[in-house]
């Protein structure tokens, strides 16, 4: 079996052998349900498509949090427990290590996102929803999950404390979300650059209304790749210390 898949499989098993994985997924699902009830369903006059857009809007934040929370320990824990030596002395590349670690977090985020499907299904039962709208929203959520898991993996590669990695990842995510507002007060051409970097408003909002823009898909995939590249470089730099 490919080394990255082996690493991902072990990591997922470790998450669910302790209660951590269950607690994170259960807590986020609970939050998802509460927000769905109090935010998405708050106005009974809303059309089904608007309720669904609101669901994707609030679920994107929770998915982002899940990505950071599930990835912050990946490499930091290996460094703190000194088990990183097992991976670093195996005949595998740093890419395989980083990709396997990220894949484990992304797989759990995917499970979390998949488990939230009962909420939009409630809208389907009581209203009318286009399957394309549902698919685009979930594609957006998965892209957010992929990017935030990669951010967490990167932050986890530069520290041996998972809490520090979690804080760094959250700050990084917040900075990228708030670049949208910063772009509004920045002068050209910086405003365009900041607007493009915007994690949420520029790229995710179209997914909530059923639109899939290629540039948004490219943005999230590029961000994921850049964060994984950063993690790979951080891992490689350890050998030179």
């Amino acid at each position: 079996m490919n080394a990255a898949l082996l690493i991902a499989r072990r990591e997922i098993a470790a998450q669910f052998q302790s209660v951590i994985g269950y607690v994170i997924v259960a807590a986020l699902l609970l939050l998802d349900g509460l927000l769905f009830h109090s935010f998405a369903m708050s106005d009974s006059k809303d059309l089904s498509s608007k309720v669904l857009a609101k669901f994707f809007y609030m679920s994107s934040g929770i998915t982002g949090a899940a990505g950071i929370l599930l990835s912050m320990r990946l490499l930091a824990e290996e460094s703190r427990e000194k088990t990183i030596v097992l991976l670093a002395t195996a005949p595998i590349s740093d890419w395989q290590i980083v990709f396997g670690k990220w894949l484990s977090a992304f797989a759990v985020v995917t499970v979390f996102v998949a488990l939230s499907i009962y909420l939009p299904l409630l809208i389907v039962v009581h209203g009318s929803v286009h399957p394309g709208h549902l698919a685009s929203g979930y594609l957006g959520l998965l892209l957010i999950g992929a990017a935030t898991s990669a951010m967490g993996t990167f932050c986890s590669s530069i520290t041996s404390h998972q809490l520090v990695a979690g804080v760094l990842g959250s700050v990084l995510l917040l900075v990228m979300v708030t670049t949208w507002w910063t772009a509004k007060v920045a002068a050209p051409p910086l405003d365009d650059v900041l607007a493009y970097m915007s994690f949420y408003d520029k790229h995710f909002l179209p997914f909530t209304t059923g639109e899939v823009h290629t540039r948004a898909v490219v943005y999230y995939l590029s961000l994921t790749f850049l964060c994984l590249l950063g993690a790979r470089l951080a891992l490689g730099a350890r050998r030179w210390r």
Binding site: R10, K82, T83, L86, T89, A90, P91
Partner: protein
């Protein structure tokens, strides 16, 4: 089998090891000896592929470790001082995982795990979680992971550290059993460990290789330095004055005294304890005992790694 040339490593501006060169033949057991901080772990981390050297080359059967790391890491097994283990995994699961990661074919996995658990005495705990095992068993799991992929070179950093006497004997026997099939490099600051298990000694001091060879070679080379313990009847100050003034005495390592005698640990300039004995007796003091104060390997180690003449403050500070 293993050729190391001019190995140097800096951590920032701090020099950890400098210009280390040595060779080890196939199937041999070599021992790295040195005080804590001498650079033993750094050398092993470089040989394992975990760290890259600042300069120098490491070749295994002629292939360079830096230019072909992936190919060579499959030929190396490494046990760090603190065994790297996943406590939530069972011994079997852990060994299977590492065997797969290191390229053992799926069809050979079961056989390989059974062979290694048997040779390391882990069969009875194979399905227990690693977190529930004693320190001795965890060290065995550490050794098992280092040989699970049948590597040509096995690197063991302080393998008996923290073990009780029975576990130490078992571990030595295990390491001796591994020799022949594997080339083994052990690092330790415990002299008896390398004396019992190693064919070749490599002595490190402050990051430099100061001596290498078999115990017999080193004994011959450092024969001039002889550590002795001598018990002399007399007042402490008079005894110190007499002994300190003798040509044959290189240094006074320590001096303790009671009502009956002064006991001194000395390093001699040359192998002439009779000169010390006749000077003591000739000076009118009673010579109660004169004996080697360390075993031979310890004498070699001290001669290679400590300054020949300690300062006056050191001698003063060791008085009781």
């Amino acid at each position: 089998m293993l050729e190391v040339q001019g190995l140097t490593k800096y951590y920032g501006l701090k020099r950890a090891i400098y210009d280390i060169s040595f060779e080890i033949g196939s199937g041999q057991i070599a021992g790295f000896l040195g005080l804590n901080g001498a650079g033993k772990t750094t050398v092993l981390k470089i040989l394992s592929g975990f760290l890259l050297p600042t300069s120098g080359t490491v070749k295994i059967d002629g292939t360079d470790l830096v230019s072909s790391p992936d190919a060579l890491r499959a030929c190396i097994g490494f046990l760090p001082e603190e065994p790297p283990l996943y406590p939530e995994m069972t011994v079997r699961g852990f060994l299977r995982y590492l065997a797969q990661l290191r390229g053992v074919a799926t069809r050979d996995l079961k056989r390989q795990v059974e062979r290694v658990t048997e040779s390391t005495g882990l069969t009875e705990v194979i399905d227990q979680s690693i977190g529930s095992l004693s320190l001795g068993y965890r060290r065995r799991v550490g050794i098992a992971q280092s040989i699970i992929h049948d590597p040509a070179l096995v690197l063991l950093d302080e393998p008996i550290s923290g073990l009780d006497p029975i576990q130490i004997v078992e571990m030595r026997s295990l390491i001796r059993d591994l020799a022949g099939d594997h080339t083994i490099l052990i690092s330790s600051h415990i002299l008896t460990e390398v004396e019992e298990t190693c064919d070749t000694l490599l002595v490190l001091k402050e990051g430099e290789l100061v001596a290498r060879g078999s115990e017999a070679d080193l004994r011959e080379r450092f024969a001039a330095a002889l550590s002795v313990r001598v018990a002399i009847q007399g007042a402490a100050e008079e005894v110190r004055s007499l002994v300190g003034g003798l040509d044959v005495v290189a240094s006074i390592e320590s001096l303790r005294h009671n009502d009956k005698e002064c006991v001194l640990d000395l390093t001699l300039q040359r192998d002439e304890p009779e000169a010390l004995a006749s000077a003591v007796v000739g000076g009118g003091f009673g010579l109660r005992r004169l004996e080697p104060s360390h075993n031979e390997l310890e004498g070699i180690f001290l001669a290679a790694t400590t300054p020949r003449t300690p300062t006056a403050e050191q001698s003063e500070g060791e008085q009781t």
